[in-house]
Symmetry: C3
Subunit: 200 residues, 3 copies
Amino acid sequence: MIWDVLNFIGTIAFAISGAIIAMEEDYDILGFYVLGFTTAFGGGTFRNLLIGIPVEDIWTQNYLFVVAFLTITLIFLIPGRLLSYWNKWGIFFDAIGLAAFAIQGALYAVQAGVPLSGVIAAATLTGSGGGILRDVFAGRKPMIFRAEIYALWAALGGLAIGLGLINGAWAIGVLFISIVTLRMLSVRYKWRLPRHSTTT
Amino acid sequence: MIWDVLNFIGTIAFAISGAIIAMEEDYDILGFYVLGFTTAFGGGTFRNLLIGIPVEDIWTQNYLFVVAFLTITLIFLIPGRLLSYWNKWGIFFDAIGLAAFAIQGALYAVQAGVPLSGVIAAATLTGSGGGILRDVFAGRKPMIFRAEIYALWAALGGLAIGLGLINGAWAIGVLFISIVTLRMLSVRYKWRLPRHSTTT
Amino acid sequence: MIWDVLNFIGTIAFAISGAIIAMEEDYDILGFYVLGFTTAFGGGTFRNLLIGIPVEDIWTQNYLFVVAFLTITLIFLIPGRLLSYWNKWGIFFDAIGLAAFAIQGALYAVQAGVPLSGVIAAATLTGSGGGILRDVFAGRKPMIFRAEIYALWAALGGLAIGLGLINGAWAIGVLFISIVTLRMLSVRYKWRLPRHSTTT
């Protein structure tokens, strides 16, 4: 149930983020669909591949395809002016997708019985996989490698779940909102992790 | 049988298109093979992964490897002047590969019993998968995201097959030629799909 | 046993090469881990996918994750001055990873009973897969497509193993050192394979 909610939220959020980047790159309507679908289902495909769930199981989520299709169509039809009121929409929906899929990937990994390092990796890669594909296909540097803290929040979420600290819907909800908030604060206040001191 | 013909045509066409781009990027002979093989077998690998056929089944197509190898070697040996008589050779062979693999991917998906949206996605991704890998590896913007209509023809082919409109070898032949023709006309007359109106 | 040694060497070497490129691209510490892990485990994931070993088996190598983690942390802590004494460290460790994983991929493929062309392809792709992911994610042209001879050495190693010429730990050791040496000589003396004569 929680599962399906996270899947639903993550799919819609990443579909939107893919469509927004397609808009920024001036792609045509089919480019919107391809980039939106890639972003929405890329993370889950990574997750299935890494956890050992048959990749073709994504086809059983027929209603999610319809939801993603309608979402992308909607973004295509929204006048650009509305979207440009806040130039962080793309980053905001990416943050929602990151949080939803990171938690989902970690829960999957726990259920599959992989060790703690695997749970952290699953959270990081499921959360960021769709966005990495999106950015590589759009010819951009993947968000995970850009300046402000990104994947750390997914990895910490994976750590919390892997350690068994997150139990029940409420705890998952708090974790979800925390990841989104921390990611947006990272962008807003340009939080950065330490870099290698090449001049030391 | 039709299956094998489509596989054969698509593999050769994509091997050529990969080799032509390797030539344009001034890669060495091994770069020709790597890019040619990636393009020729990338689409089928995507398809196997998405439909749930074991990816390693591509190794059983031993004769196709030999065919691709000979094709790439041939392109390497052809003087550049012959290829430059028509600067659309790369796009032409990509169109043939797109058509052959889109039809093949859709037929696979129908046989595997996936829903209509899955058939359309399989046609689009099998047809364009090899070319996406080729373009990403060559540091180019994937053809699927460029200006002139590309993936729509594969998606429409998938739709026609998914709806059961295409029966028998003749219908498949007509569909194949239609996709190639429509793709080349798209390039020739710069057909474009609607874009997002960012200034509305 | 040889197997595990090769795996160990290749994982560490690719983790280092990923971390060095993360340093060159000025990524933060998490970028070090993501790029290091991608490079270290990307080749094995490619191999598992191509040979038909369940991809999720990589999670069983728990100790390798720890080793890669410690290796990447160490590179992050080393002062840049030490690394800059020789600006080929990145290429050197990439060569070690290439050799270790090429041999390992070829041995796997032989054991799985794939034909000779499959063994060569497995050697080439397992050896270069992690580096390709690393370079695509870092927005660079994959090393496999750059000027100096790269994948040929992996392919020839695969050929030798596929033909049954390499038997026993000593022969594998000699092959390993040969691939590393030939790759570094290729860089040092700018060995290049023939290119397509576009002006002939």
